[in-house]
Amino acid sequence: MIKETKKTIRNLALTVAGMLAFSFLLVPIYDVFCEITGLNGKIEGPSVFSSKDIEEGKREMLIQFVTHNNEYMPWTFKSEISQLKITTGVQQRVMFVFENKSSEDMVGQVIPSVSPGRGAEYFHKTECFCFEQQKLLAGERLELPVVFIVDPNIPLDIGSLSLGYTLFDITDQLPNNQIAAL
C-alpha cells in the first residue's frame, strides 16, 4: 500500500475514534452547559446563600409547587401548600409529605426543576430532601422540609417561579446492602 494511502486511513481512523470519544464527552459538556445557562431548570445544592447578605431590592413573588410521581411510583407525594407569596431575600420553609402506600420497603429520589429555567440560578435551596435518597418502610409516612431563599437580583420580568418535583422509584437500582444502610 502506498504511504499516502496509509496516512489517509490512519487520520480517518483517528477521526472516528475521536468522534466516538466526543459523543461520550457530550454528556459532561451538556451538564456543565446546563449549569452555566440554567437550561432545564437544573439547580445545584445545597446553597450557602444567606439572607443576611441582602438588604436592597426586595420584592414580592409567587412560588408555586408542583409534585408528581414518575411511572408507577406508588407513594403519595404532596406539598403542604400549592403556592406561597414570598419576599425575595427572606428564607422560607415549606413542608412536603411522603407516604409509602405499598406493602414493601422502598427507596425514592426526588429530582427538582425550576421554571422558567432562567430563574433557576436565583433560587437557592439551603435544605432539601432532593439532595438525598429517601427510604420509607411499607406504610411509613414522613414530612420533609424545603428551605429556600430567592435572590433579590432575580430579573424583574420573572413574576413567579414554579418549583417542580418528580419522585422516582430507585429501589431496583440500588444494591440491597446500600438500601439497608439508608
Binding site: 489517509t8 486511513i9 477521526t15 459523543s23 461520550f24 432545564n40 429555567g117 422516582f168 437500582q173
Partner: protein, 529 residues
C-alpha cells in the same frame, strides 16, 4: 516467453469468478456497487410494504387492519429501513460504481474492506427485521428512538435494534474511509480537486460527514445499551441523567445525517442536468462551496428539531437563524441548476425528467423546511403531518428521485443496454403524479393539526387521508415498474453506444469507456488536461 506469461494472465484475472462465490468474495468495485444497488432495491420494497400497511390503516378513520402496537412497529421500521437500508446503500452503490470510473482509477483504494462493508448490511437488516417476528415485537419507538421510550419502555428486542445500528454504523464508517481514501489518493494524474466531477465532490463531503457523525450515533446507542443492561443513567432522570440529552446527542448525529441523504443526489442531478441541457454546469466552484458550507452548517443546527423541549430564547434564535442560513447555499445550488438549463438545448429523456422533478419538488421540501425553522411557528407544526410532508418531500422526490435519475442515466453504461424509454417515461409520470398526491395533502392535514405517529385520526381529516393513501398505493406499485424496466434493460435492452447520450465525452471519464465497461477499467490511468 514474456508474451506467453501475459496471455496466461489474461485468462486467470480478467473475468469475474463464476457462481455465487463471485458475489460473496468479490473485491471488484463494479460488483460491489451492483450488490449495494440490488440490496437497496430489495429494501425499497421491504420498507415500501411497511408504508403500504401504514397507509392502508390510515385510509379511513378508526382501527381496521392493524393494532396500534403493530402500527408503531411499522412506522419505526419503515423509517429505519428507508434511511439506512435504501437511501444510504443506494448512494454507496452509485459511489462504488461511479467514483473509480469518474476519477479514472482502477478500483477503490481498499477493495477487501469494501466487500466487508457491503456484507455487514444484510447482516444488520436480517437482525433488525427479524425482531418483527419475535414475541416482543420489533422496535416501536419511532426511527428517532427517543429515550426513555427506547430504554425504559422499549420491548426486549431493542437490544437487537442497538446491535444492528452498531453494525450499520461500522459498515458506513468503513465505506466512508474507503471512499475518502480513493478520492484523495487515486485520482487520474491531472485531475485536481477542483476538476473532479460534482458527484465525486458530493461524495467526498458526504463521506466526511459520515466519518464525523456515525461514531456519535454508535455512542448514542451504546449509552442506551448501558442504561438498559448495565444500570447506568445517561438518559434516566432518576439516576441523574436527562432524557433531553438523548435528543441533543441524537440530533447532533441526525441533522448531518439528513444531508448525508441528500448531498450525493445533488451530485447526480448536476451531471444529469448538464448532460441533457448540453451545457456545462453553471457555477461549478460555487456548487462545491455550497455543498461544503451546507455540510459545515449541518453541525450547528441540530436543536431546531427540539424547539418544543424548552430552550432559552437565545438558543431558539441561534438555531432558527443558523437553520435559515442553510437556505442560502441551497438556493445557490437550485439557482445553478436552473441557470444550467437556461438557454440549453434541453431534451427530456427519463433521467432528465427525474432531475427536473427533483429540482422543483426538492425546493418545495426546502421551503417547508424554512417554515419549520421559524421557532415560534414550529410549536404549531411540531409532530404534525406537516413535518411528515416536509421530510418526505426532501427524501422521496428529493433523494429517491436523485437515485432513480442516476440509475436511468448510468444503467446503459453499466449494462451496455438501453432501458425502454417509453416505459421509463411512464414510470416517471406515474411516480411524479402519485408522489405529489401522496405527500402534498399531508401539508394541509398537518397545518390543521393532525398529529403524526397515530393509527387513527379525527373525522375531519378523512378525505385528505384517503387521497394520500390512494397516492401512496399508486406510487408503491409504480416502483414495480422500475424493477421491470431494470430487468428488461439488463436482459433484452437495445445495445447502447459507448457515449450513450449525445456528446458525453465532455461530461466525464466514465463515458470514454465501453458500454458495458470491462471488468477492470483504467488499469492505466488516463491523463486529465
Amino acid at each position: 516467453m514474456s508474451t506467453i506469461v501475459e496471455t496466461h494472465d489474461d485468462h486467470g484475472h480478467h473475468g469475474p469468478a463464476k457462481g455465487l462465490t463471485r458475489w460473496l468474495f468479490t473485491t471488484n468495485h463494479k460488483d460491489i456497487g451492483t450488490l449495494y444497488l440490488w440490496f437497496s432495491f430489495l429494501m425499497l420494497f421491504v420498507g415500501g410494504a411497511m408504508a403500504m400497511v401504514i397507509r392502508a390503516e390510515l385510509f379511513e378513520p378508526g382501527l381496521q387492519i392493524v393494532q396500534p402496537e403493530f402500527f408503531n412497529q411499522m412506522t419505526t421500521n419503515h423509517g429505519l429501513v428507508m434511511v439506512f437500508g435504501v437511501i444510504m446503500p443506494a448512494f454507496v452503490g452509485l459511489a462504488n460504481w461511479m467514483i473509480p470510473m469518474q476519477i479514472g482509477s482502477p478500483d477503490m483504494a481498499l477493495p477487501r474492506l469494501n466487500n466487508l462493508s457491503f456484507w455487514l448490511l444484510p447482516m444488520a437488516f436480517t437482525m433488525l427485521v427479524s425482531t418483527l417476528f419475535m414475541d416482543a415485537g420489533g422496535p416501536n419507538f419511532g426511527w428517532t428512538f427517543y429515550a426513555p421510550l427506547s430504554t425504559t419502555y422499549a420491548p426486549d428486542t431493542v437490544t437487537l435494534f442497538i446491535f444492528s445500528v452498531h453494525v450499520l454504523g461500522v459498515s458506513s464508517i468503513l465505506g466512508s474511509i474507503n471512499i475518502i481514501t480513493t478520492i484523495l489518493n487515486m485520482r487520474a494524474p491531472g485531475m485536481t480537486l477542483m476538476k473532479m466531477p460534482l458527484f465525486v465532490w458530493s461524495w467526498l463531503i458526504t463521506a466526511y460527514l459520515l466519518i464525523a457523525v456515525m461514531p456519535v450515533l454508535a455512542g448514542t446507542v451504546t449509552m442506551m445499551l448501558m442504561d438498559i443492561h448495565f444500570g447506568t443513567s445517561f438518559f434516566n432522570a432518576a439516576g441523574g441523567g436527562d432524557p433531553v440529552l438523548f435528543q441533543h446527542i441524537f440530533w447532533f448525529f441526525g441533522h448531518p445525517e439528513v444531508y448525508i441523504m441528500i448531498l450525493p443526489a445533488f451530485g447526480i442531478v448536476s451531471h444529469v442536468i448538464e448532460t441533457f441541457s448540453r451545457k456545462p454546469i453553471f457555477g461549478y466552484s460555487s456548487m462545491v462551496y455550497a455543498m461544503t458550507s451546507i455540510a459545515i452548517l449541518s453541525f450547528v443546527v441540530w436543536a431546531h428539531h427540539m424547539f418544543t423541549t424548552g430552550m432559552p430564547l437565545a438558543g431558539e434564535l441561534f438555531f432558527m437563524y443558523s437553520t435559515m442560513l442553510i437556505a442560502i447555499p441551497t438556493g445557490v445550488k437550485v439557482f445553478n441548476w436552473v441557470a444550467t438549463m437556461f438557454k440549453g438545448s434541453i431534451s427530456f429523456e427519463t433521467p432528465m425528467l427525474f432531475a427536473i422533478a427533483f429540482v422543483a419538488l426538492f425546493t418545495i421540501g426546502g421551503f417547508s423546511g424554512l417554515m419549520l425553522a421559524i421557532a415560534p411557528a414550529d410549536f404549531q407544526y411540531h409532530d404534525t403531518y406537516f413535518v411528515v410532508a416536509h421530510f418526505h418531500y426532501v427524501l422521496v422526490p428529493g433523494s429517491l428521485f436523485g437515485v432513480i435519475a442516476g440509475v436511468y442515466y448510468w444503467i446503459p453504461k453499466w449494462t451496455g443496454n438501453m432501458y425502454d424509454e417509453t416505459l421509463g417515461k411512464l414510470h416517471f409520470w406515474l411516480s411524479f403524479i402519485s408522489v405529489n398526491l401522496t405527500f402534498f395533502p399531508m401539508h394541509f392535514v398537518g397545518l390543521a393539526g393532525m398529529p403524526r405517529r397515530y393509527p387513527d385520526y379525527a373525522l375531519q381529516f378523512a378525505d385528505f387521508n384517503a387521497m394520500v393513501s390512494v397516492g401512496a398505493f399508486i406510487f408503491g406499485f409504480t416502483q414495480l415498474l422500475l424493477l421491470f424496466i431494470v430487468i428488461k434493460a439488463i436482459r433484452t435492452g437495445k445495445k447502447a453506444s459507448h457515449e450513450v447520450w449525445e456528446d458525453t465525452k465532455d461530461w466525464g471519464l466514465e463515458w470514454t469507456l465501453e458500454s458495458p465497461p470491462p471488468y477492470h477499467t483504467f488499469t492505466v490511468q488516463p491523463e486529465v488536461k
